[in-house]
């Protein structure tokens, strides 16, 4: 009964949704809209379709090589050195991404709610809370995600309902935005916005049953896709193509715009509460998974003490860009483009090697 592995598919689902679902509130929408204008709401589907085969392939491999997590799988297929090297690439790419993502996150907090506070202070506080939260361990993170998930999603649903009056669906036309080719290529290049799926596989063996992982992850992935597409659709239809390019944080523009009758006109703080909660949890999960991968690569079984240094290296990376615009349009954009091939190719590579070695037939 007191088996350590108590997490089930529902916790997994909650973690996937927390980790990736936050994308609908951050600058990803703007990043997309820069390129494809009002067709950006279909781009997550394209990105998802690019990533999905690789992700399924990885899940298939994990199922074949039972009781292995991501890094163990890499090592057992590619050999210790190559496996570690690939694992390290995955770690570095995601680690840079989390640095920039967290910077973008604190930029939102600062610009919208704490204009007078210095970036560093907000960043420091964020990472303190993330660090202390992550220290509680994977299980507790799962529970916390699961219990907060309904509240976060209900708040988002309320926002969606309140904004419905402003939706003008004709704004999705012209349907291909700035052109079909641009939409397709950009959608493919930004496949890496779903790269967090791959990080989660480090926890493959840490759930009650591995089937729980697969069910939770897949349901979560599709739910997140639906959620993101739905909200991007709302952004398109509320803001129209010319405005969406200019708005850095469409989610917060929505929350500032909606009102609850004539008496509660500025209710963004209500949504901000749940957004902050989800944001904290997202970075807690993110940092924890990264530290886990790091620990697995360097054979550090007690990896939790590493949370502290990694949190603060994140801070350092996040502070590199001069301002949020550079952070978004230059660093994050480029990084997302470069990282995509890594995630698309490595499961195929693994599968190829495994096939060549004949591992897949044995079992």
């Amino acid at each position: 009964m007191h088996d350590k592995k108590t997490l089930k598919a529902s916790e997994m689902f909650a973690m996937v949704t927390m980790l990736v679902g936050m994308k609908l509130t951050d600058t990803t929408a703007t990043l997309y809209a820069q390129k494809s204008q009002n067709a950006f709401w279909v781009m997550p589907i394209i990105s998802f379709l690019v990533i999905l085969p690789s992700f399924l392939l990885l899940l298939f491999l994990l199922k074949k090589y039972q009781d292995k997590n991501l890094v163990e799988l890499l090592e057992s297929i590619l050999g210790s050195v190559m496996g570690k090297l690939l694992g390290f690439f995955i770690f570095i790419s995601s680690f840079l991404l989390i640095g920039l993502d967290s910077r973008s996150h604190i930029e939102q907090i600062k610009l919208l709610y704490f204009p007078a506070s210095p970036n560093t202070v907000i960043f420091f506080l964020l990472l303190c809370i993330v660090f202390l939260g992550a220290k509680k361990g994977f299980e507790v993170i799962g529970f916390a995600s699961k219990i907060s998930l309904p509240f976060v999603k209900i708040s988002v649903l309320i926002l969606a309902i309140l904004i419905m009056g402003e939706v003008v669906w004709q704004r999705i036309f012209p349907i291909f935005g700035s052109g079909l080719t641009i939409v397709l290529t950009e959608g493919v290049l930004k496949g890496s916005i779903f790269s967090e799926f791959f990080l989660l596989t480090i926890a493959y063996t840490s759930l009650r049953k591995t089937a729980d992982f697969r069910i939770g992850a897949l349901f979560g992935a599709f739910f997140v896709l639906f959620e993101i597409v739905f909200f991007f659709f709302v952004y398109t239809t509320v803001f129209d193509y010319n405005s969406i390019e200019k708005i850095s944080f469409p989610f917060h523009d929505l929350t500032q715009f909606v009102s609850l009758g004539d008496y509660f006109t500025n209710i963004e703080t209500f949504f901000m509460v749940f957004w902050l909660l989800a944001g904290f949890l997202r970075f807690i999960i993110y940092i924890y998974l990264l530290t886990w991968i790091f620990g697995a690569i360097f054979n550090i079984s007690e990896f939790e003490p590493l949370l502290l240094p990694l949190s603060f290296i994140t801070l350092v990376i996040g502070m590199i860009p001069d301002n949020s615009v550079v952070n978004e349009t230059v660093y994050r954009d480029t990084l997302l483009n470069y990282v995509t091939p890594l995630y698309v190719i490595f499961p195929i590579l693994l599968w190829g090697v495994a096939l060549a070695r004949g591992d897949l037939k044995k079992q």
Partner: protein
């Protein structure tokens, strides 16, 4: 442990007394309810007027306060946010714009190219919401804010809230929040309608109808001098014309993105042209706008069908429309015709004079384009709309006569 506790205690005290960066006590802030924008004396500068609510008025605690309900100040500056700072040379508290309800723009500024510059910079600060309403005043915005003197609603935010809500429900002013302004201006198609208002009396011309006025023309006695009526038409961020209340109502009926709750209006009596018939116009369905577009010639055919219901409120001519089938038919025809004609007039003006439409119809042409470059090349404003063939149909679905079957026969009464 003991030392640790001491440090924590000192730290807490420190926080309590000083607070952190963004901490601000409520009483140390001044809340702006309305912002006025005027042209400055020099090119490129603007004059900003802030109407600040006085918290002491209207709260029971400080009863007997003789202070004014609001303080209205004007200051010259470059943009709104820095102006709030400059204003602190004579305003005691930090000026916050979060509670702003309306932005008043003088007609003079709205007609100039500079308007877009100053309003763009306003949207950059998160303090000004997208829900803020835009009012164009005939006089200088600072005069408008100073002259506006509501008798009943002392607190300015209440005044704007009630006033604008009610006027919007009756359709005589458009919905004009900043969000819509940027949508339309940045979308580079269609016309934006802002609320038109004034505190100055213009020469009153009694048109006989109830809504063919623009603000200032309405014959009024007593009450607040401020009138809200009609709309200011913006094309590409610049004011080009003022339309009256009736035309605003037509725009509201033809635009599915606008909401209008009730419309009490009069129509000429077809049988006794001396009189007018009052009716409650209601539109249960969105107007059906059918667009067919020819790619080669870049020509659009727009056919608009508006179905509406009407409830007759008063027939001063006392002609029997309720029970006389023939008369009723005439009435139906005449009302439909009347609406169609008025609408066609407005469409004609917009096609010929404005070169764009105030109905947000560009939405319906979009689906014929594959992508945005093609759509922008098609050019709704310059090419498609002015040359479009537009057909308007009003269909009266139901005609009700209220609870009375018939009016008393005047001749019988007089007898």
């Amino acid at each position: 442990m003991k030392n640790f506790c001491k440090i924590i205690f000192i730290f807490i005290l420190f926080i309590l007394l000083t607070g952190c960066y963004d901490k601000a006590e409520l009483e140390q802030q001044s809340y702006v309810i309305a912002i006025g924008l005027d042209k400055g004396e020099k090119e490129g500068t603007f004059s900003f007027t802030f109407q600040i609510a006085n918290p002491e008025v209207g709260s029971t605690l400080s009863a007997g306060s003789d202070e004014e309900a609001e303080e209205t100040i004007s200051i010259t500056g470059n943009d709104i946010v820095t102006a709030t700072n400059t204003a602190n040379s004579f305003v005691t508290k930090r000026i916050v714009l979060d509670q702003t309800k309306v932005i008043v723009v003088s007609e003079e500024l709205a007609r100039s190219e500079d308007f877009l510059r100053v309003i763009q910079s306003a949207s950059r600060t998160p303090q000004i919401r997208r829900g803020v309403e835009m009012i164009v005043s005939k006089e200088k915005a600072s005069d408008f804010l100073n002259n506006n003197d509501p008798k009943m609603e002392q607190r300015p935010h209440k005044y704007y809230q009630y006033m604008l809500n009610r006027a919007k429900q009756t359709g005589i002013i458009p919905e004009a929040d900043l969000h819509r302004f940027f949508q339309i201006t940045e979308g580079d198609a269609d016309l934006f309608l802002a609320i038109y208002a004034t505190t100055e009396k213009a020469e009153t011309e009694d048109t006989g109808t109830e809504d063919e006025y623009i603000a200032g023309q309405i014959p009024q006695e007593g009450g607040n001098v401020t009138q809200f009526m009609g709309s200011a038409v913006f094309k590409e961020g610049m004011l080009i014309d003022i339309i009256d209340g009736q035309e605003t109502r037509i725009c509201n009926t033809l635009d599915k993105t606008m909401g209008m709750e009730e419309l009490l209006s009069t129509y000429p009596d077809p049988i006794a042209p001396k009189y007018r018939i009052s009716a409650d116009y209601s539109q249960k369905e969105e107007p059906v706008i059918d667009v067919s577009y020819n790619k080669k010639t870049n020509h659009a055919k727009i056919s608009v069908t508006v179905s509406f219901n009407l409830e007759i409120l008063a027939i001063p001519s006392m002609i029997d429309y309720a029970q006389n089938e023939k008369n009723q038919k005439i009435l139906r025809k005449s009302i439909e015709k009347n609406l169609e004609n008025k609408t066609k007039e407005l469409i004609q003006i917009s096609q010929e004079e404005y070169g764009s439409d105030p109905f947000y119809w560009s939405l319906y042409i979009r689906k014929f384009f594959k992508d945005i470059p093609a759509y922008e090349k098609g050019d709704w404003n310059k090419k498609i709309f002015p040359n479009a063939e537009i057909d308007v149909n009003f269909v009266l679905k139901r005609l009700d006569f209220g609870k009375m079957l018939n009016d008393s026969n005047l001749n019988d009464v007089r007898d």
